[in-house]
């Protein structure tokens, strides 16, 4: 294997140009000053970061982290047993495809369908009223509940796919061997199954938590633009109040926060394994 991996260098180069350079642009912009007529201008300043360390913005960050966490846990709790049943079933490929097909219809339209279901005169309320479970329609739309439901709905396959591909390689004969050695059901799960599927869980959580923090049109549409999350804040900074440096600074802080969280997660994962 002495040949130089030319293809690897090409991939590396392209990612550098189209991945790293945009990031650098954002980093540089975050230190510039705001000029509404030319988007950005000198001088370099730390103001954009200083302005963000206030309780008001802190509240937004905390709310976003909380909602993303709930979304991730929600997805995990449903997707993990779901992937398990999928792996054990005989119709894996078609069941998997059935998960993906809804996502080939525009997520925007499906989110608007969720509105039709959660509205005051919507289908859910109609259903619950008919069954006499409630006697007054519930105001579910334009709340955090609606936002979380929308996020879980849209990010579900991102949790299923990595967990499934990882679980599929699990050798179930290990269960037989462990049972022969006297392991109980809980042992089977915590000592054998969970550690071996951990990688898929981590990939899935990463693929859900990150978009949950940064998607803005779902909280916008389902939350009634009332509860602002980080994604909405960044959108507003770039496109509404036209403060590109501040938008860039918020993005950098968000990026740093997420990287820190990921390192903690990875550290815990490595410790657990050793």
């Amino acid at each position: 294997m002495k040949t130089k991996p030319f293809s690897l260098y090409v991939i590396y180069g392209c990612l550098l140009i189209f991945g790293f350079v945009p990031f650098l642009l954002v980093a540089v912009t975050s230190f510039l000053s705001n000029d509404p007529n030319n988007l950005v201008t000198l001088p370099f300043t730390f103001d954009n970061y200083i302005e963000l360390f206030t309780p008001l913005f802190g509240k937004v960050f905390l709310r976003s982290v909380l909602i993303s966490l709930i979304t991730t846990i929600g997805c995990l709790v449903i997707a993990y047993p779901f992937s398990y049943f999928l792996v054990r079933s005989k119709h894996q490929s078609i069941l998997l495809l059935l998960i993906i097909i809804p996502f080939w219809t525009s997520s925007l339209i499906r989110t608007y369908s969720l509105i039709a279901i959660l509205k005051f005169k919507g289908l859910l309320n109609l259903f619950l009223l008919k069954l006499h479970i409630i006697d007054q329609p519930l105001s579910l739309l334009y709340t955090n509940f609606a936002v979380i439901s929308g996020l879980i709905y849209n990010l579900f396959p991102f949790m299923v796919l990595p967990i499934f591909t990882n679980m599929e390689r699990f050798d179930f004969r290990l269960f037989e061997a462990a049972k022969d050695l006297g392991a109980g059901k809980l042992d089977l799960f915590f000592k054998i199954f969970l550690p071996n599927t951990a990688r898929g869980i981590i990939s899935g959580c990463v693929l859900v938590f990150l978009p949950a923090m940064t998607l803005f049109y779902i909280p916008n549409v389902l939350g009634g633009a009332r509860s602002i999350l980080i994604g909405n804040m960044i959108q507003s900074q770039f496109l509404v109040i036209e403060n590109w440096p501040q938008g860039a600074a918020t993005s950098m802080i968000l990026t740093a926060l997420l990287l820190v969280l990921l390192f903690i997660f990875k550290r815990k994962g490595n410790e657990g394994r050793s």
Binding site: F18, L97, N166
Partner: protein, 257 residues
């Protein structure tokens, strides 16, 4: 009893996923234009859809873009993963590659879209099909790598080297030994990339040009007046088409021994 619970759980998950789609289909035959109350059965929206040239061209453009982006990013990502997997000593390269990929996932879509727009201006790349393709490949590759990587680590690199020892060429070893083992991950990655590209609004918003319109942006702009039932009709059509394709593919895969 266990299998009954299993079946119930699976069915409820699928129900949860499909109810909004069913709602979509029902509203595509609702007479009302703005309201979400049922006002009678009507196929007028399908008739309107048939004559809507813009929506159809946007649809075909998105499909084309999706397929190109999915194939290119999956191939690239697969190659990168395999190369790194087979050379465990190249830690430095692997670390830096993963760092960039991580960065790409973590950057909010909105910011990546804006940054790419600025980049395309610096390189004087005209906005159109290629700017969209480059942007889509850029945000798809990290997902490909994550998906394939979570599977590739369950493999033994010695499988590849033993194949070489037994006389196989590098290509043969790749396609006949590694690829079949990685196949589910590759298919997952392809599907994931196509879905991401077909449905991407935020990044495309910034890097799309005037002469290559794509479906998500057309929908996003129409949504301003409220979701027209015509859009529901289009989504119903997309959904039925996907179902038919899947059933056909499944039947065909069944036939092969």
């Amino acid at each position: 009893m266990k299998t009954l619970l299993q079946k119930l759980f699976l069915i409820s998950v699928y129900l949860f996923l499909y109810i909004p789609i069913i709602v979509l289909i029902v509203y595509s035959v609702n007479k009302a234009r703005f309201s979400l109350q049922w006002q009678g059965f009507s196929t007028q929206w399908y008739a309107e859809l048939l004559h809507d040239r813009e929506l159809w061209s946007a649809f075909t453009h998105s499909v084309l873009l999706g397929i190109c982006a999915a194939v290119i990013s999956t191939a690239t990502g697969l190659f990168a993963c395999v190369q790194l997997f087979l050379r465990p000593k190249r830690k430095h390269q692997r670390r830096s590659l993963f760092a960039i990929l991580l960065l790409l996932i973590v950057i909010p879509d909105l910011v990546l879209g804006v940054a790419l727009l600025l980049l395309f201006n610096i390189f004087a790349i005209l906005l159109g099909f290629f700017s969209l393709l480059i942007a889509h490949i850029t945000f798809c590759i990290p997902f490909v790598v994550l998906t394939i990587n979570s599977r590739i680590h369950t493999l033994d690199p010695n499988l590849y080297y033993s194949a070489l020892d037994l006389g196989a060429t590098r290509t043969r070893a790749l396609t006949s030994v590694l690829l079949p083992l990685l196949w589910p991950a590759v298919v997952s990655a392809l599907l994931l990339c196509f879905t991401l590209s077909f449905d991407d609004v935020i990044i495309s918003y910034f890097v799309a040009g005037p002469d290559f319109n794509i479906l998500p942006l057309t929908i996003y702009s129409l949504v301003r007046v409220g979701v027209t039932p015509e859009l529901n009709a289009l989504c119903t059509f997309t959904f039925l088409l996907s179902m038919i394709l899947v059933i056909v593919a499944y039947k065909l895969s069944r036939k092969s021994p």
